[in-house]
């Protein structure tokens, strides 16, 4: 049969296992990557706007009596988030080697939640020091909106990982050969971490 000349990705579609929606793993991952590209553009829009506003500002923070952002504390928090990415990587490693990966999932959830708590603490702390959305012009605006957008992404990520964890506990949904949803949550989670590293750099360090 001369179908090798006709081979298209369609052929691979049937070769491997299907997720519960029917699309095979490589298709799901492909879709996730496209979606993450659009997410990257969302943050690019926010970050681009921030850069424009910040470059136009004579000094930063715009006024000396505005509170500085807690570099060190959030730096530690950044490490926590990076650690959570590593933990999720271990989830994938252990699931691929035939284990359930439940402990690593739990660890990721804990680390992710720690990050969220850290952010919540920071928001309340800054609020008490007098910084909020409407204070300090673009300084307050950009900080709260950007970290808020990112925090919402982390929250969704934690919920997704929690969902994976519960499925793993009750249904053993992800096995050595069937883990595409896990992979996709992983892609999302790593993406959210990478975005944070950028945000940390431009909001806190530079």
């Amino acid at each position: 049969m001369s179908s090798s000349a006709l081979t298209t990705p369609f052929d691979q579609v049937h070769s491997t296992e299907s997720s519960h929606h029917g699309a095979p793993p490589h298709v799901c991952k492909f879709g996730m990557i496209i979606f993450l590209l659009s997410e990257a553009m969302l943050f690019a829009g926010l970050i681009g706007g921030y850069i424009v506003l910040r470059l136009a500002s004579a000094q930063w923070p715009p006024s000396p009596d505005l509170p500085a952002l807690p570099k060190v504390l959030t730096g530690c928090n950044t490490l926590v988030l990076i650690a959570s990415s590593l933990a999720f990587h271990m989830v994938e490693v252990s699931v691929k080697s035939g284990k359930t990966g439940r402990r690593w999932l739990l660890l990721t959830i804990l680390l992710g939640s720690t990050f969220l708590c850290g952010q919540a603490y920071e928001w309340t702390h800054l609020y008490r020091e007098g910084l909020w959305f409407h204070v300090g012009g673009v300084y307050g605006s950009s900080f709260f909106v950007m970290t808020g957008f990112h925090g919402a992404h982390v929250l969704i990520g934690v919920l997704l990982i929690l969902w994976c964890f519960l499925r793993q506990c009750f249904f053993k949904s992800f096995t050595q050969h069937h883990h595409v949803a896990l992979d996709n949550v992983g892609l999302y989670w790593h993406f959210v971490d990478v975005v944070w590293v950028f945000l940390y750099m431009i909001l806190y360090i530079v």
Binding site: M1, S3, L6, T7, T8, P9, F10, D11, V13, H14, S18, H21, G22, A23, P24, H26, V27, C28, F30, G31, I34, F35, L37, S38, E39, M41, L42, F43, A44, G45, L46, G48, G49, V52, L53, A56, S57, P62, F133, H134, G136, G137, V138, Y139, G140, S141, S142, F144, V145, F149
Partner: protein, 594 residues
């Protein structure tokens, strides 16, 4: 009627059947219409919802034109029922209300009519059929995308009922007007606008993700990229534009929302923000957006034209490369909307040049369309008439675009009716003509009946004439100095003598409204009473015509195998004048390599 069956059935059976790729079963009863995973049903959901918005958007346009033609005359019949934010007690449209009408008309037409029709309706309906797939890659996501669109629709409609009324800042929502509540007086309406745009964007992103994945990974055996019908190519490129452009608007809309409701100052100079930042973000999205609205239209007409010229598309690959370069260049020209914003002149010249460069691929496409009909045996069916009209109207709109791309000219015509003429030539004469063409063309596939050609021809001729009557004089109005977004031209000394032109435009607009009603009459009449359509009424080559009308759940009884490019019409030496994509050419026939 001639139904082409996949030629080597046993070969086809070696390939697993398309149906296997999705396990969901067909829904029964009302859920079949409300929550379906079938791409065809989702396409039709988009179609009908967008048509509803089309009627609303059209009614708003009529109100706008009435006010401009007959300023400060009470609107007959319905005027007294208009809310106080739009009209005074006697039914006269008030200036602020006029701005709301214009804003809502444009927002609805762009985000709730043209995009959902071209991308949501045609994209969903046609992509899997044309690539030989059983459905989209992610059927659930597909339905979610539709409902996100509906939800965003509720938000935009809610703006009419908000305290203070709908936003009146134009579809471009320029800051600081849009960002400061005491300026625009419509904090709630403008915020609802922002929310609607954001959710609508999510729907677009979900749809685009699905389309790209489906086209890249789910093509039938033999359907190589360069055998894809041009409609599919156009939707692929459009989806990529959506992925990169829409999120930037979402970010901007979110910032606007926070400026309005949380006291942030992204776009407010008082807090160190920049109104110009809004313009940059909006147009970074906005210019790709205009290509998002024209590329699928180009795809549809490129598909319809060869069928009724009985000739292959002239320069298939050139068409693909032209669309790809239009898409790419579309991201580096946004500054041509901002020539008067005080932009640095070098930058301004750069944007002018990059804009003019886009005229090159646009020109390539135009000449290829001419090449396609050149010496063809043209059948002047209704879809073909709309397709030919598309090309001529697009040329007019494209040419005025090149005028405006030149900074010195634009300084003069910016924010005048010349711009309004330009974008209606490309959006109505372009996108909407292609949509009409596509409806007449694929109606038999969607509803297994033919549309009435006489009513169709009346619709076409009336639309063509009234369209030009409405929008051509706007060039003159613009050059005569008539500004956009003014409620009453007669208060300006220099515009009084132009008022007769405004009356002509208004008469044209009402004619256009009536001719659109002819279309809807035809649509409903034909759905119920039209003659039964054969599976392949136009003797076309692409895969959707090889299966029943409407296609069953799962589309292809057996996965088709593709042997040819999409436009094998009048192949020399063959006894029938078209060769379906899934039929092997007789061995004595040598096809050009595709």
């Amino acid at each position: 009627m001639n139904v082409s069956v996949a030629p080597d059935i046993d070969l086809a059976l070696d390939h697993p059947i398309a149906l296997e790729t999705h396990h969901h079963s067909e829904k029964k009863g009302i859920m079949h219409y409300l929550w379906s995973y079938d791409h065809k049903m989702i396409g039709l959901q988009y179609l009908w919802t967008a048509f509803l918005f089309f009627l609303l958007g059209g009614a708003l346009a009529m109100a706008v034109r009435y006010q401009l033609g007959f300023p400060n005359h009470p609107v007959p019949l319905i005027g007294r029922f208009l809310p106080s934010t739009l009209a005074s007690d006697d039914g006269t449209i008030i200036p602020g209300g006029y701005n709301m009408l214009v804003t809502m008309h444009a927002t609805i037409m762009v985000f709730f009519v043209v995009m959902p029709l071209l991308i949501g309706a045609f994209g969903n309906y046609l992509i899997p059929l044309k690539i030989g797939a059983g459905d989209m890659a992610f059927p659930l996501l597909n339905e979610v995308s539709y409902w996100l669109y509906v939800i965003s629709g509720f938000f935009i409609l809610a703006a009419f009922f908000a305290p203070g009324g709908a936003p009146g800042t134009g579809w471009t929502a320029y800051a600081p007007l849009s960002a400061v509540a005491i300026y625009n007086q419509t904090q709630v309406g403008q915020s609802l606008w922002g929310i609607a745009i954001f959710i609508n964007g999510l729907a677009s992103i979900a749809g685009a993700t699905n389309y790209i994945t489906t086209i890249i990974t789910m093509r039938a055996p033999g359907m190589t990229m360069f055998r894809l019908p041009l409609t599919v190519w156009s939707l692929l490129i459009t989806s990529i534009l959506l992925i990169f452009a829409v999120p930037v608007l979402s970010a901007a809309a979110a910032m606007l929302f926070f400026d309005l409701n949380f006291g942030t100052s992204f776009f407010k100079p008082a807090g160190g923000g920049q109104p110009l930042l809004w313009q940059h973000l909006f147009w970074f999205f906005g210019h790709p957006e205009v290509y998002i609205m024209i590329l699928p239209a180009m795809g549809l007409v490129s598909e319809i034209m060869p069928v009724f010229a009985r000739k292959p598309v002239f320069g298939y690959k050139a068409m693909v490369y032209a669309m790809a370069s239009i898409g790419l260049l579309g991201f580096i020209v946004w500054g041509h909307h901002m020539f008067v914003s005080g932009m640095n002149l070098t930058l301004s010249a750069t944007f002018a040049v990059s804009t003019m460069v886009i005229a090159v691929p646009s020109g390539i496409k135009t000449f290829n369309w001419l090449g396609t009909v050149w010496k063809g045996s043209i059948e002047y069916t209704v879809p073909m008439c709309f397709t030919l009209a598309f090309v001529s109207m697009f040329v007019i709109g494209g040419l005025s675009g090149i005028f405006m791309a030149s900074t010195p000219v634009d300084l003069f015509v910016h924010h005048t009716y010349f711009i309004v003429a330009h974008f209606h030539y490309v959006l109505f004469g372009g996108s909407l003509f292609a949509i009409f063409s596509g409806i007449y063309f694929w109606f038999p596939k969607m509803f297994s009946r033919m549309m009435n050609p006489t009513l169709g021809m009346i619709h076409f001729i009336a639309t063509f004439l009234f369209f030009n009557l409405t929008f051509f004089p706007m060039h003159n109005l613009g050059l005569g100095g008539m500004m956009r977004r003014i409620a009453d031209p007669t208060v300006y000394e220099h515009l009084r003598q132009l008022q007769p032109l405004n009356v002509i435009c208004t008469i044209g607009a009402f004619g256009l409204g009536l001719s659109t009603l002819v279309f809807f009459v035809n649509l409903f009449y034909s759905i119920f009473k039209g003659p039964q359509a054969p599976d392949n009424p136009w003797l076309a080559t692409t895969l959707e015509w090889t299966i029943s009308s409407p296609p069953g759940h799962g589309n292809f009884p057996i996965t088709p195998i593709v042997y040819n490019g999409p436009y094998e019409y009048s192949v020399p030496g063959m006894d029938k004048d078209y060769l379906p994509q899934n039929e092997k050419a007789p061995t004595n026939i040598q096809l050009e390599i595709h």
